[in-house]
Symmetry: C2
């Protein structure tokens, strides 16, 4: 990988979207949690691109804190496999390979269909109403071409569904998987790619209303596969092979 100063500057330019923390808020708020949340959100909506480097001091300056909380947040994200620690101990967003992408999809299919199946057995009417509301806002974002809002809503839809399982084991794993895929969505989802997602979400909702776990799981599966196909179709040339 190119590690010259100029390329590192270029890689760091993507940090501009990160805003300083508003301090003095509610007491007891840990700084590293806020920094973690900010980075995590940026990861999931594809604002940070693979190869991006995160020097601790740069981020500390950006957030207006000392090194420690930034370090904590980065190390947590590394532990969750959302970020990668290079041999020189600098953190960056891992690049994507075909093998990793396919493995991520395989594991997501396995776990998320399980979660969807179990969720549809436990779901209540109010949960479905909330999912419909989230789906509305996702569709609205798609119509306006607001990719960021679209991805936020899509994430919210899936995890609102999965969270009715109260799973303490699978949920954290799936969240980690989404963070690993997120950066690779950068610049992928134009209006074209949102059509299938909308149809699949409608199928999910329909199957949920009639409490059909198998159909819910199938629809979730289709949703993931279709999204992967969109990415593969547009980004087939963008993988970094080892």
């Amino acid at each position: 990988m190119d590690t010259s100063v100029s390329s590192r500057r270029a890689a760091n330019s993507g940090l501009k979207g990160l805003r300083p923390l508003r301090r003095g808020g509610a007491a007891g708020g840990r700084l590293h949690d806020e920094i973690y949340a900010a980075l995590r959100q940026a990861l999931i909506v594809g604002e940070l691109i693979p190869g991006q480097v995160f020097p601790i001091r740069t981020l500390a300056e950006r957030f207006g804190t000392s090194l420690i909380p930034v370090r904590d947040a980065l190390k947590r994200l590394v532990a969750e496999r959302a970020l990668l620690m290079l041999p020189n101990r600098t953190v960056c967003i891992p690049k994507m390979t075909r093998a990793r992408f396919q493995e991520l999809l395989q594991v997501r299919l396995s776990l998320e269909t399980k979660l969807a199946h179990r969720a549809s057995e436990l779901i209540r009417q109010e949960d479905i109403l909330e999912l419909e509301s989230i789906n509305e806002s996702m569709q609205a974002a798609a119509r306006k071409g607001n990719v960021k809002a679209y991805l936020v809503a899509n994430h919210a839809f899936h995890f609102r569904l999965y969270s009715v399982t109260n799973s303490l084991v699978m949920l954290p794993i799936v969240e980690s998987l989404w963070m690993q895929v997120g950066p690779f969505l950068n610049g992928v989802f134009t209006a074209a790619g949102t059509k299938n997602a909308h149809d699949n979400h409608e199928q999910i909702l329909k199957a949920l209303r009639r409490r059909d776990p198998v159909a819910v799981a199938d629809a979730v599966s289709s949703d993931l596969v279709d999204a992967a196909d969109v990415i593969l179709a547009r980004k087939d040339f963008m993988f970094d092979e080892d």
Copy 2:
């Protein structure tokens, strides 16, 4: 949970097995990595029991370091779900519930059979020889009733098999799952519980030699299920229900 001083002292007594780090070794060694490795090993072999509390300063004193590297190691283990952060931000080993145990087993079955299947397609002769060697030492440990060595060898056997897949996605997840189950093995595996594991490992090796991925996956599945049955049979009364 009881949080009186006396019970906390009792919970901390389990830390005695942790030894100070031998400093001044190879340069470039990060202290928090060594602390992490020590805790991780203790977790996997069941030396640390559920409910165990880890005050940073106590561990720092035990390891002979300052607070920072201990904090790093603990936060990493929390991120990997091996440890749990209590509301007061103290770190402890999570207690086990039936639901969590069953979910852990389900996910492990799903992922580890996949890994076993893929491994048996890629495995080389030298890998099999090494697995046989590990299996030998496991059997020896079982005969001597050395539970700790037995669990170490069992862990080594499984991950030596899985690692031939070079999986960057599933392997870290499965390691996390083993760390979550480890503490619950405390005091479970007497000589009685090791018989099935030995048979299953022999089945795995036999299937590997004839390159039969399905049979390998099945044997791994049986291994996990049998181990779970041993735990359920002996510990059915020891679950902490929420």
